[in-house]
């Protein structure tokens, strides 16, 4: 019975990596929900009440500037979670978090997870290790945004997003990708057309399909290889 109820939750890599008894304990409080694109999860300064583990969708973290503009600083897919640190105590969100790719998510109340964390070392360790991975990722992305050109960053971003959602077709508009990369929409359109003419991607309104992953990896900056979800934890000696 419990195995069936935790099946969807195991699509999230962090949850899947937990010992079964731990996941079963959480299972009482874990819920599975579907969320649509643009659904708002956190606002800067607001309390983190719930923790989200993507199963198939993707969450985007955005730093909101004073002029109202927002730039993506991280994306979270099935390899991770957001709001985990709120299980260590009451926390406020630093960034805006929205659903970038619709999908299924496991969610749990921060207070419920906090309760479990008190008695369960492995759960606390998982939160600590995942935070270390996010910190490494943030440093790599800061460097990437400063030194790498837009076409290479676009390719890195497409590959990363594909990994995060476990799908070769990305249901994302040029507007959104432009916002994520901090460039004009036209710049994304022209880069995408260039990749399409080389048979690397197929670009339609509102979606991009990856046709030739190897070529796309060749066009991406080295940050993709560094940030790959299976490899990054090992680089810093962390096993998730």
């Amino acid at each position: 019975m419990l195995d069936i109820s935790t099946q969807g939750h195991r699509d999230n890599r962090l949850l899947a990596a937990l010992p079964s008894e731990m996941l079963n304990l959480m299972g009482h409080d874990l819920r599975q929900i579907s969320l649509a694109q643009h659904h708002a999860i956190y606002e800067p300064g607001a309390p983190i009440d719930e923790i989200y583990f993507p199963q198939s969708g993707m969450i985007s973290l955005l730093v909101v500037a004073k002029d109202g503009g927002a730039v993506e600083t991280a994306t979270i897919g099935r390899e991770g979670a957001i709001g985990l640190h709120a299980a260590l105590g009451k926390r406020l969100s630093f960034t805006r978090a929205t659903i970038q790719v619709a999908g299924k998510f496991s969610i749990i109340r921060a207070s419920a997870l906090a309760h479990l964390v008190q008695d369960h070392g492995p759960l606390r360790d998982m939160i600590t290790r995942y935070t270390e991975v996010l910190w490494a990722e943030a440093q790599q992305l800061a460097a990437c945004n400063a030194v790498h050109d837009a076409p290479a960053r676009l390719c890195r971003w497409l590959l990363q997003t594909s990994d995060r959602i476990g799908n070769q077709t990305l249901p994302l508009t040029q507007e959104l990708i432009a916002q994520m990369l901090g460039v004009r929409r036209t710049t994304v359109t022209l880069m995408a057309q260039s990749l399409q003419s080389q048979g690397v991607i197929k670009y339609m309104r509102g979606r991009i399909s990856i046709l030739d992953r190897e070529k796309l990896e060749h066009c991406a900056c080295e940050c993709y290889a560094v940030l790959q979800q299976e490899k990054l934890p090992l680089k810093i000696g962390v096993k998730l």
Binding site: R185, T186, L190, Q193
Partner: protein, 103 residues
């Protein structure tokens, strides 16, 4: 809801009247022997805004890159059309950043 991407990335774009009068659409193509077509176009207030947009896009594309599709930027031009397909202006991509792009 977060602001639209246009507002987010072009904070200096004039917003007044945006809701009332539909803005013209401009298309920013890249041309050498081949064309890279801007199939979407962008709503902008006027040709002045289109020149500014063209310059920004050209700078974003050429930043730390030597060319596109294996061709040096000196072979590429940016050609800007209106929605009727009429060419409004063009400039060489390798001139971008030299202060005369979009003229």
């Amino acid at each position: 809801m977060p602001p639209s991407a246009d507002e987010a990335v072009v904070p200096d774009q004039p917003l007044a009247g945006k809701e009332k009068i539909p803005m013209p659409i401009y298309y920013f193509h890249l041309r050498d022997q081949d064309d890279i077509t801007d199939i979407d176009g962008t709503d902008l207030a006027d040709i002045g805004a289109a020149r500014e947009h063209a310059n920004t896009v050209a700078r974003e594309l050429t930043f730390k890159t030597s060319g596109m599709l294996g061709e040096d930027w000196s072979k590429w031009s940016m050609v800007v059309h209106d929605s009727a397909g009429l060419e409004l202006f063009s400039f060489e991509m390798s001139d971008v950043g030299k202060g005369n792009g979009g003229k």
